[in-house]
Point group: C2
Chain length 437, copies 2
Amino acid sequence: MKPGAIKGFPEWLPEEEQVQQNLIDAIRRSFELHGFGPIHTRAVEPMETLLSKGETDKEIYTLRRYQGDPDDGGSLGLHYDLTVPLARYVTEHHGRLVFPFRRHQIQSAWRGERPQLGRYREFIQADADIVGEGSLPARYDAEMVALLARTLDTLPVPPVRVQVNNRKILQGFYLGLGVQDVTGALRCIDKLAKIGVDGVLAGLQAAGLTAAQAGACVALAQLGDDLQDLESVRALGVSHPLLEEGLAELAETLRYCRQQRLRTEVVAALHVARGFDYYTGTVVEGVLRDNPNLGSVCSGGRYENLASAGRTKLPGMGISIGISRIMGFLAHLGVLKPERRSPAEVLVAVHNEDTRHISDEIARDLRARDIACLVSDTSAPYSKQIKVAVRLGIRHVWFPGMDGKSSEVRDLDAGTQASADPATWDPGTSTKATSWD
Amino acid sequence: MKPGAIKGFPEWLPEEEQVQQNLIDAIRRSFELHGFGPIHTRAVEPMETLLSKGETDKEIYTLRRYQGDPDDGGSLGLHYDLTVPLARYVTEHHGRLVFPFRRHQIQSAWRGERPQLGRYREFIQADADIVGEGSLPARYDAEMVALLARTLDTLPVPPVRVQVNNRKILQGFYLGLGVQDVTGALRCIDKLAKIGVDGVLAGLQAAGLTAAQAGACVALAQLGDDLQDLESVRALGVSHPLLEEGLAELAETLRYCRQQRLRTEVVAALHVARGFDYYTGTVVEGVLRDNPNLGSVCSGGRYENLASAGRTKLPGMGISIGISRIMGFLAHLGVLKPERRSPAEVLVAVHNEDTRHISDEIARDLRARDIACLVSDTSAPYSKQIKVAVRLGIRHVWFPGMDGKSSEVRDLDAGTQASADPATWDPGTSTKATSWD
């Protein structure tokens, strides 16, 4: 067996994985608090489903059975996001769901892209979406952006800036300008943060825009940050009903978020377009406030036409938090603070192998009271057993009395030792401190 | 987009998925209580790793990038269990782990087998393993079997019978009988429950055993159930040092489990061999006590030689609970009791759209106190809002006072209504009842 890392497929040590688990648990709890229940979709979709969104640049992985007929494979691929599977799920189970349908989903997805910092071939993301039946009022866009910010509020990560835009603003503006290839222009503008003004101007003109049109598009993208700037959109002198609609929706989202007393910043950012073709209105992405150039750590948007059941449209609005990406950035920035290596609150020492059953019984009593513990693997001198507790990050060591009763517990952090009873002992909350202050 | 189920890739409705989540949470908590921390391995391994155990009958799925060079793929496959990835992980990270290394891992795995009841092509399993450095005393076999039974004790599933065997018993017995193809005989005996005595007798003779040898093998496999029967093994008149070693280890495991006051039955079952070639001693599998013929819902075993670091052996003992399989069996038996469709404890009603912000604020206050709630999607008459709560399985409906204070809450189950304050209201524990009585 030849071990080794595979580029683009991140893995963590146990004390790091615990940080990832804490992130997942906090996100899941926030989604539940807002009434979003869980679903879990299969990792695979028919290739025609995955390709039907024209997202072939997502570098889909196809599956083949090793011993199967070569023609047997090729029809299934690994999903590259959790939104396309959701759209298939709500269509498939339409009659058995309650609409508007709220779900959260925390799973891996796969893209065969070139790996780089924060961009992986296998990654975990945490999504929450709401899907309406027939229609979904615009106020849900505001609520979902607020849910994203509220969830980020609870996470042990550096401050995130949530940047909101509305594709209707961009599309309306481009239409008002007389641009023919609106989709091409959108894709080009989305690269502004990555390739800069000159690159975008060149790209827009390559897409058929005049220099004046391209300049206006870039001027629009460079506005942002507060409601004031939405007025300055009108000052650019372009008008279109879709532009007005987008401006109203964006203003409403920003207003709503301002009311929510969020710690996470929510701002307008007219350069944000997002890569997925299925977005039709609000689009959102979050970056680390102090390291925006690393790229987005969360995203989302409104998709009006992704799913339907018969003639009934099933429009949705979703948000997605990139768990693997956040982990990658935390590690890159040197601020990934590992948890203790063992979930145990206490190591129950073993006096000698003949009395191991006494330690086992103490452990059983503690576990029955929901206190995680580990019975020492060795009955070596207590000094050695204490060293193991230190290595594992376990704060307390339990020294069993040989009568099964008169035990003592040492708090390795406080340097104190006191008598303790498995029926009443409390490890305290100090050992459950989060990994971020 | 063409929706539809894919055979062998199970998915659940939200209220069923919540049952699956509850199972996963309970298993994870049990593993944590025993000092097993989390790891998460990538879904893929190099094909040479997956094939190196000779497990080609596991029907591995290989990956290919849709747009990639045809020669680019084929080197990665989806893992078919979580033990082979663990062996690779402990080898790769050997220097950074504390041994004996305890980890739990709850993930999907994939096998391209023919789908049938409880056998899926994509399935979730929950594993806990302990891996030693150099050696791992036999008492850990007993501890891991007890951990399996203890964990099953806490799950909302029908009673499971945990059946234990030790491959050394079978191997020693076969060697004592003079059987040449011990591995072939093992594989054949493992099918006893599936194909019956005649099928196994024929298979053993096809593998080169005499009729007398085959008969003795079947006689051994049919013993079991309590310590008494381990004596009856010796009564079969075969002797071999490996047989004695296996009998001693099995007796020790049964003795230890008996001491643990487990609710889940743990019995000897000499027909259990398990399919994986990597098992070298203790093997275990659990079946639903009242429906044993459905097949195993959990399994595990000792693997002495799966992993190593340089010249240091890294022997392990692990257990695995088949989450997808349990879900499939519960559904098949008609005892999958769906949870409520929404995680919300309370639906906050909306008087009219102009006062929706009052309901929003109540919800925010409740969520700040870790109470999950949903603000009504509609401001239709309260009778209609109550109907939505009923459909979603939400027990309480909150009627906001228009001054933002004098609210009342109706308990739909109890049929009572009382004034309530978001700062102090407690939904009670009754709504958190488990799905199994």
